[in-house]
């Protein structure tokens, strides 16, 4: 068995192959559903209905997709420059902490000022936070996969200390949570009686902005060049160091905006379970989207559909909602395989 690179790949296949891969993943997971004693068709039907079947379901799905778009973009930008930022989870909480620190009474502005202010300061904090491992990488050649990953736990422990200690809300009846953000910091709801909030629009705007930056600007060109070949970009006299710093600021900032968005859009106060691993899921989202900023939106919605749908499915029939984790994991593998096969063909013998 051998791999031969394909000379050229039709655009249709580049888009179609990942979609087919998702179908294949669902087929594989159907085996598990059968094993659990249910009909796969019914299960997938329930899943889709639960995620898209009503206005409420749809808004739930898009609400869930919102932080995934932010963290997915964070990973997509960084990975494009070959800066392996696995620290989205930590930057998420840095953003949430910043919004808690500034937004729980220290500063109160009118909503139209307060919301941009919290997003910007959160993004700045997250970006600066990612500069630490970036600096370690460029100066000491410390592997950022390790440092960014480990910093996630450092941040979680600090959040743990904050919500049990200095930031603990005395009004929360002993629950480990910080005080709620002021009303002007809460993101307006887009659809009445739903949880879909302004953060979704901001996430879409960020996706467009990132796509535009990568494609049309000097910075985007430099990020892509540095990622594609550090050696050649250095030789061509590109500002490689500045590009990596810039990438880190943007990536860390985007991940932190997910934290601000969840804090001010959904929960209202900081807890230790504000993120069920949005930072890590962002990596999956970015990989499923082949690091394309607009693809990130689609893959984030896809993953949200699976999770929201699986919750509702597991309530209707006796299948654990762990099927969502399995489905996303299998999808990731099949999509990566499909993208690989669009670039190479296998020759048997």
């Amino acid at each position: 068995m051998r791999l031969e690179p394909r000379e050229s790949v039709a655009f249709g296949w580049q888009v179609g192959a990942p979609l087919l891969a998702v179908v294949a993943a669902m087929a594989i997971c159907s085996g598990l559903i059968l094993w659990a004693g249910a009909s796969p068709l019914a299960a997938w039907g329930l899943l889709l209905k639960g995620a898209l079947g009503s206005t409420f379901a749809l808004t739930e799905t898009l609400t869930r997709a919102t932080p995934l778009i932010f963290t997915g973009l964070a990973a997509a930008v960084a990975f494009r420059a070959k800066l392996w930022n696995i620290g989205g989870e930590g930057q998420f909480y840095v953003g949430a902490c910043m919004a808690t620190w500034l937004g729980t009474g220290m500063i109160d502005l009118q909503a139209w000022l307060m919301i941009p202010f919290l997003f910007l300061s959160g993004a700045l904090a997250g970006g600066l936070f990612l500069l630490v491992p970036t600096w370690l990488k460029t100066r000491l050649k410390a592997d950022e996969v390790v440092t960014t990953l480990l910093l996630n736990f450092v941040v979680l422990l600090v959040v743990n200390w904050l919500v049990f200690g200095p930031w603990k809300d005395p009004m929360a009846m002993g629950w480990p949570q910080a005080a709620p953000v002021v009303d002007s910091a809460m993101l307006p709801v887009l659809v009445p009686k739903s949880s879909l909030h302004l953060g979704f629009i901001l996430a879409l705007a960020c996706a467009l902005a990132v796509w535009w930056m990568m494609r049309f600007t000097v910075w985007g060109f430099e990020i892509r060049a540095v990622g594609a070949s550090l050696k050649a970009s250095t030789f061509a006299g590109m500002p490689v160091g500045a590009t990596i710093v810039r990438t880190a600021l943007i990536s860390g900032g985007l991940a932190a905006m997910a934290g601000v968005s969840e804090l001010c859009g959904v929960k209202g106060y900081l807890t230790l379970d504000l993120s069920p691993g949005f930072g890590y899921s962002g990596i999956v989202v970015a990989m499923l989207a082949a690091l394309h900023p607009l693809g990130v939106v689609l893959s984030a919605i896809f993953i949200a559909i699976i999770y929201i749908g699986a919750d509702s499915m597991s309530r209707a029939i006796t299948i654990s909602n762990y099927i969502a984790d399995v489905t996303t994991a299998v999808s990731l593998l099949t999509v990566l395989l499909a993208m690989f096969l669009t670039r190479y063909r296998i020759r048997w013998k």
Partner: protein
């Protein structure tokens, strides 16, 4: 040659999509014969040998070894039949010793222990018999390119190969190492083995082979005993027309554009350190730097590219001492740089032709404004350069990875020359290029010198240096000899200086 041929390829045809890489190729190889497979890049040489070795499966045609057909697509069967291949890019593990590399893959996968003593004895006997000496216990990482190639050859011999295929074996070797290699191959042939080597260098064919086969556009266009042909005929068959030759018109030198005054530099993994370099290049002049690879040429190239800063001495560009050497400052000071490593250093292989033509100028006014790239300007400039420099590719949006070596080099030259440099550094500019592309590169350098640029040409190919340079300096262990006029220099003496004998480094003024 009346006996059954050792190897017979008949009617080999292979398509890659719309491209016909091999078109009904037949050839034979006899025992004790050295066959040269000659052709321009993309003529189908490597594809043919890959089919023979089982890496590719031919669409039609067959391979026979001693009259027995070889099952297609099985490197294992090819190995078993005694066909061994030495690739252009070596496939050795740097962190293992020579012996371990040679044993790799010959031992049973689940064996409990390796019989190193027996392997060593076998290897020793081969080294003795073919006079191919390498220290079997040395780590491959520490070996020179020539030694690594010897390991590759030993690896193939160790597997009892009777037919050796070498893909562009001299592409990475110095002239001396090449001579050594061909002496070795001759020894193998004298002892009854057979050799096919792929090349596009006519001199090697004429000097070393018994018979040669010329491929063009996937077909055999000439098959003859080497003694019955001439280099001119071979070149004509290879290119399909008379070969273009760069022409040099001497020009009186102008002002000094580069002066290195006692420059010292060092960097890990870059061969010799630079010691007290003195050299001077004037406008309209081409200064050749000769030398065996690993004597500091890479470091000199890195220095002039702005990748490495000197630890002592001065770099003076057009009378101005450069204080901070970076790639960006060198570009801004009018230094055009043609690196030896085209795909890794010179180009971003995964980006497009247009993007690669833009990497040194996109920040200039006119090409970007307030952080936005001006695609219209970049594209029209790129289209113009593609046209002027005859870069052949699928279009501005084609990834550079898909270009041939010659077109890659033309792209780099286009990027460099379009900025009107005062000084051009060209490090091994025709390395691995075919005849046509080599002539084009030479002509571009000569034209640039005529227009007033000074050129530093680093090359291990003495022919090239003699053809292009006005003066030549020899580099040996990080030092430079005094410059000599090409017109009067003695070739044999240069050769001696390159090997460190009678080397004199009083330096240039």
């Amino acid at each position: 040659m009346s006996t059954t041929p050792l190897l017979r390829l008949s009617g080999i045809t292979k398509h890659f999509g719309p491209l016909t890489a091999n078109d009904d190729i037949s050839l034979t190889l006899h025992q004790g014969e050295m066959l040269a497979l000659l052709g321009e890049n993309g003529a189908g040489k490597t594809t043919l040998m890959s089919i023979l070795f089982g890496h590719y499966v031919a669409d039609s045609g067959s391979v026979e070894v001693l009259g027995l057909p070889l099952p297609p697509g099985s490197p294992r069967a090819a190995l078993k039949a005694g066909v061994g291949m030495v690739h252009q890019h070596f496939t050795l593990a740097g962190n293992m010793t020579v012996l371990e590399n040679i044993m790799l893959g010959t031992e049973p996968l689940w064996g409990f222990r390796r019989n190193s003593a027996r392997a060593l004895a076998k290897l020793d006997s081969f080294m003795e018999r073919f006079r191919l000496h390498v220290n079997p216990h040395a780590l491959v990482r520490g070996l020179s390119v020539g030694e690594r190639q010897r390991v590759e050859i030993l690896k193939v011999l160790y597997r009892d190969a009777r037919i050796l295929i070498l893909d562009e074996p001299t592409a990475v070797l110095t002239p001396q190492e090449s001579d050594h290699l061909f002496a070795t191959l001759r020894e193998l042939v004298n002892q009854g083995l057979s050799v096919i080597f792929i090349t596009h260098k006519l001199r090697e064919v004429m000097a070393a082979s018994d018979r040669c086969v010329v491929l063009r556009h996937g077909r055999v266009v000439l098959e003859t005993a080497t003694g019955m042909t001439s280099a001119e005929d071979l070149a004509k068959a290879m290119v399909g027309a008379n070969i273009p030759q760069a022409t040099r018109t001497p020009h009186p030198p102008g002002d000094e554009v580069l002066f290195l005054d006692g420059v010292r530099a060092s960097a890990p993994d870059r061969g010799a350190n630079l010691e007290e370099l003195r050299l001077s290049v004037r406008a309209h002049e081409i200064l050749g730097i000769a030398g065996v690879s690993g004597n500091g040429q890479t470091l000199l190239a890195d220095l002039l590219s702005g990748l490495v800063a000197p630890t002592g001495g001065n770099v003076v560009l057009r009378g101005q001492t450069v204080s901070r050497l970076t790639p960006a400052t060198m570009i801004r000071s009018g230094v055009g740089r043609v690196p030896d490593d085209r795909t890794g250093t010179g180009l971003v292989a995964d980006m497009t032709v247009m993007e690669n033509l833009s990497t040194e100028i996109y920040r200039l006014p006119g090409f970007s404004k307030r952080g936005m790239l001006n695609f219209k300007a970049l594209a029209s400039r790129a289209a113009q350069l593609m046209d002027v420099f005859d870069i052949r590719c699928a279009g501005l949006g084609a990834p550079v990875r898909k270009l041939s070596g010659g077109n890659m080099q033309k792209l780099i030259l286009a990027r460099v020359l379009s900025q009107g440099p005062h000084l051009i550094l060209a490090n091994q500019p025709t390395w691995g290029l075919d005849v046509g592309a080599t002539a084009a590169v030479h002509q571009h350098l000569l034209d640039a010198a005529r227009r007033g640029a000074g050129v530093v040409l680093i090359s291990e190919d003495l022919d090239e240096l003699f053809q292009l340079s006005d003066r030549i300096q020899v580099m040996y262990q990080g030092r430079l000899s005094a410059p000599e006029d090409t017109a009067t220099v003695d070739r044999a003496r240069l050769g001696l200086m390159m090997s460190g004998q009678t080397f004199d480094h009083r330096g240039a003024a």
